[in-house]
Symmetry: D2
Subunit: 332 residues, 4 copies
């Protein structure tokens, strides 16, 4: 719990945004898996800040240093620890924030819970923390790939734009207004065998919802017909089973989203995650400080206007950790 | 995991729809709490089938028998076990289903996972299982009430009807068409102190999403501005902190849904759950049996047309278990 | 934790000595296992009070009622709940104890922890609770038997008697003196494959020690050469590996007790458990009540003089739960 | 499980003996605790190899690098990650071992479990791994100290020597014989309040036994009267409660070892741990390689003859992690 995710495949993350490093320990990976380090780097690059004019200007090389659990390129079955240094840290940007409660941030709640917080860059509440998840997810994805399972997330909407050719304009317009936008990510898991998920509290959709709602800025999760399905009749959503040419059970449609009764049915698993607009706005805001005094806050620092472009790979990473764990739980 | 929910307050459920009983064990309840058994019965009555013309005709007295953990009306701090007998069981209704894979049900997936299943009334996959959750939730709610926390779920939509005066008509129309409808439940937690939730994987929204997505027929979860918030600008969703007359930190609005950075901020926590239309339709359906042969299936039995009216109390129960656990985790 | 034991195979126990019932829920049992109910009864009879002149006179039929998880004699893979009623309850025997802190009992500590306790027969701290463990262990043993693994516990010492022909005399002498005696149980697991145990904190000896130390009156655990091995040289304890006729790796001796580096090596696993003398003595004792006043206490009720004869089957049951869990964890 | 220890205070360890580093993540530490880094170093020095002529010649500076969870010398309540580099690694010493199964080592069992292993210096099975535990334990001890709880382990026996003035001679004699010896560690926890421990499977002795049996070379655990108590009468072991001058409940003696019914009673908690002789002997040994061929093995490398001197601080560290977790679980 807390900073550990998973049951048989367990990722434990650590790190503050402006501390020495972020990283994690992935425990429970099967032994003997060949690790493709370049594939890890490719996933890290997709999450990296500063990679596009649409994302924050913070520059992080995000070099991953593995400390254990891999020998001669193969997993040992022992915990895989890794560290990613925080290099481009400009804590001075945050000095004026050391006593402020930024609106829609975790400043007040961390203070209320812990009585102390690292205000620099959001500390532990920063999305910088997801760098560790991406490394772990990249490893999990290699295990899944060896079992024929693949995962792909894509942008479904940015703000009011629901088609790819409108996405950039939404982000640029928000930035021009010193504002921010949200969006929706759609993710599909293909090649998953029937039988994954542990009823009743470990249903596959429960595991996936936990994974997704743990990502910063996620406000909603739905799978299969989702919220839209509540407005339709049962007869419109029937997934009729049939036997295919190889004798496998298949469904003629997939309103269920690949999961029935909490257990995968062999069809594609698909789900959507809602991400709210970034909370940090490049304008003056009214708020209070930690003594309760009203203050006017002017935020600087380097911030995304929309988390969706960089969140895609985090969604994939968390889905990979979830599916790999479910696969191990199912003993398949 | 699996059939246990929670970390410090742990509910373990058991029971098949047509087996001898359903029930559970609630472990971790604080000692010395006075149990109001009538309040448990009131919650059970709200979930009970046969209570309204809008719900299934199955009649269950749903008498709860407590076996341990309570002495002279007070909790002992030891596990509270309870049993609810399955009395009105008509398994014969299900004989023809013993080899059928009902569309949109868990028949095929349970078979794929376990290689065996209790086909009578859906077995473990039946919503009958939630009776145990309601008992446990009723106990958790009494602990929460003693700390000033209350929980209330209400119907927000049934099918295409988004206002209370249209709800019954949607259900009756669906029944008349031998069809079914879904709906949306909205739930509010009031009186929750700031500081609940355990970043990063035990964020309060993660715990709530797990709880809700474990409920039968739930297809989506959102809190605060949810999916709708993805279409709005960050500046429209600002919750400005201020200091109230008593010197407490409050938010001028509540787009965040009472949670920031995974931790409660003292405002009302609110979330929505999407429930799909009931899968069982009172009409002939095409499907296959467990040998892969095409069959025509005519379902009888006694079934709800819409789960929402009875799901309200299950949502409250699961929210109560979640909040009580979060409260204990926070040591507040 | 608390009242749940195990990771993939999880036993959750409940019940006070003089409450309505004791019992449990066994979650995670593989599906499709034929349950031999008579074998469960045989194990329950070995634990049952009143079965021998050497044990307590309390009479319990210990009829086990299964409530879920088994259909047509086979496990479903869903939680198996069961209840054992407390029938021969003479709570009046305990009235004078309602405010007393019996020496070496859990009366004071339960009061200190919970601020309340069920004083009747020791409440949750009574060994009556182990009845549920024996049922669960009997089920686990059937799973193990199907994989060629067997478990056998035997008495190694009673008080100062270290050979079987002295055991009864030690017990009878203690009873004649209104006193009690302890003893040592030795348990052997045969047929266990190499590869069980999860380093570093889930070593097989860690799991076994947890299981054994959770049994009432257990004061020590050792495996392999144990405490005695601390007085010997390394060269005396060498277990030399060799290849047997079938090409399997074997050890020429077994000072390691079948576990090396926390993982089973395929040899017999053996360990010992120390049980202290029963705390309840049939004589007048000085103590205090829950107001701190000095009192003279005369205990009645029906009590064993030595727990060892009835503890054997509890040791086997807990070992079975442990090994079955380890087997499932190992995916073998 | 596996590489994580604890429930609310969770230590996750990682690292192979000859990999880049060992270390860990301590999650759940209360926020706002001042960390005394020098106290951490002092504990590390007690574990460090090469510190005495009686221990291995491997030299490790054992510099601890903290990566997260501490800000301006205070804990943040977020995970505390730390790394200790492996500097004095002479893997070449182990080349001839890459295919050998050393007697009484984890070589064969790791190979049987994982199908792969890092043979250099024992890999993950090496006691090098305990360096991470000592750091975490040192932090836990500072939390305990702030609550008035202290922990002290001492050597009770080395081989056949049961008094301090014989200990060194036993070790030197064993080394002269190219042999090794074991010993017994006794540990006392003082200042612990009544009420710690979570019946029935989270009894305080269960938690302590788990902690101790997870240490390399530990073969036995006992608390209070332990194995010796099995040979005594109940009347000899009575701990009579009384009320002291301040009105506190105390026990006139402490055969119970500070725990009754799995819950601390406020007296000193004491227990003993048996450590076997070191498995590595500086002499030629018969064994087999991983193809099953008989081989003669001559071990070099740098090894302790007796683990006890360096194990003392590991026992203290694991006891500290256990008690801190129990304290947090008890909400005291």
């Amino acid at each position: 719990m807390s900073n550990t995710f998973g049951t048989l495949l367990r990722f434990t993350g650590f790190g503050e945004s402006h501390g020495p490093a972020v990283g994690g320990v992935l425990d429970g990976m099967p032994a003997g898996i060949d690790i493709d380090f370049e594939a890890v780097r490719v996933m890290m690059r997709r999450r990296r800040p500063g990679a596009s004019p649409l994302t924050t200007a913070r520059k992080e090389s995000d070099e991953v240093k593995f400390l254990s659990g891999i020998y001669k390129g193969k997993t040992l079955g022992t915990p895989i620890a890794f560290v990613i240094e925080n290099s481009d840290v400009r804590s001075a940007d945050y000095e004026q924030l050391s006593h402020a409660y930024r609106p829609n941030h975790a400043d007040y709640t961390y203070q209320a819970k812990y009585g102390i917080r690292d205000h620099r860059g959001g500390g532990r509440a920063s999305a910088r923390e997801t760098a560790g998840r991406v490394v772990a997810g990249a490893l999990a994805m290699q295990f899944l790939a060896s079992r024929g399972i693949s995962i792909k997330a894509e942008t479904e909407a940015i703000g009011k734009a629901a088609s790819p050719d409108g996405f950039d304009a939404e982000i640029l317009a928000a930035r021009a207004d010193a504002d921010s936008v949200g969006g929706v990510v759609r993710c599909v898991v293909s090649g998953c065998p029937a039988g994954l998920g542990e009823p009743v509290f470990g249903k596959l959709q429960v595991m996936l919802a936990s994974a997704m709602m743990s990502i910063n800025a996620a406000k909603g999760f739905e799978y299969g017909c989702g919220f839209d399905g509540t407005r339709r009749r049962g007869s419109e959503l029937l997934d009729t089973p049939y036997t295919d040419a190889e004798g496998h059970v298949r469904m003629a449609s997939n309103h269920s989203g690949g999961i029935q009764g909490g257990i995968s049915n062999g069809e594609d698993i698909y789900f959507r995650v809602a991400f709210k607009p970034v909370a940090t706005l490049m304008r003056a805001l009214d708020t209070i400080d930690d003594c309760g005094n009203s203050i006017k806050l002017e935020m600087h620092g380097r911030h995304d206007v929309c988390v969706v472009p960089r969140a895609l790979v985090v969604v994939e990473a968390m889905a990979a950790l979830t599916l790999a764990d479910a696969l191990m739980m199912s003993r398949k």
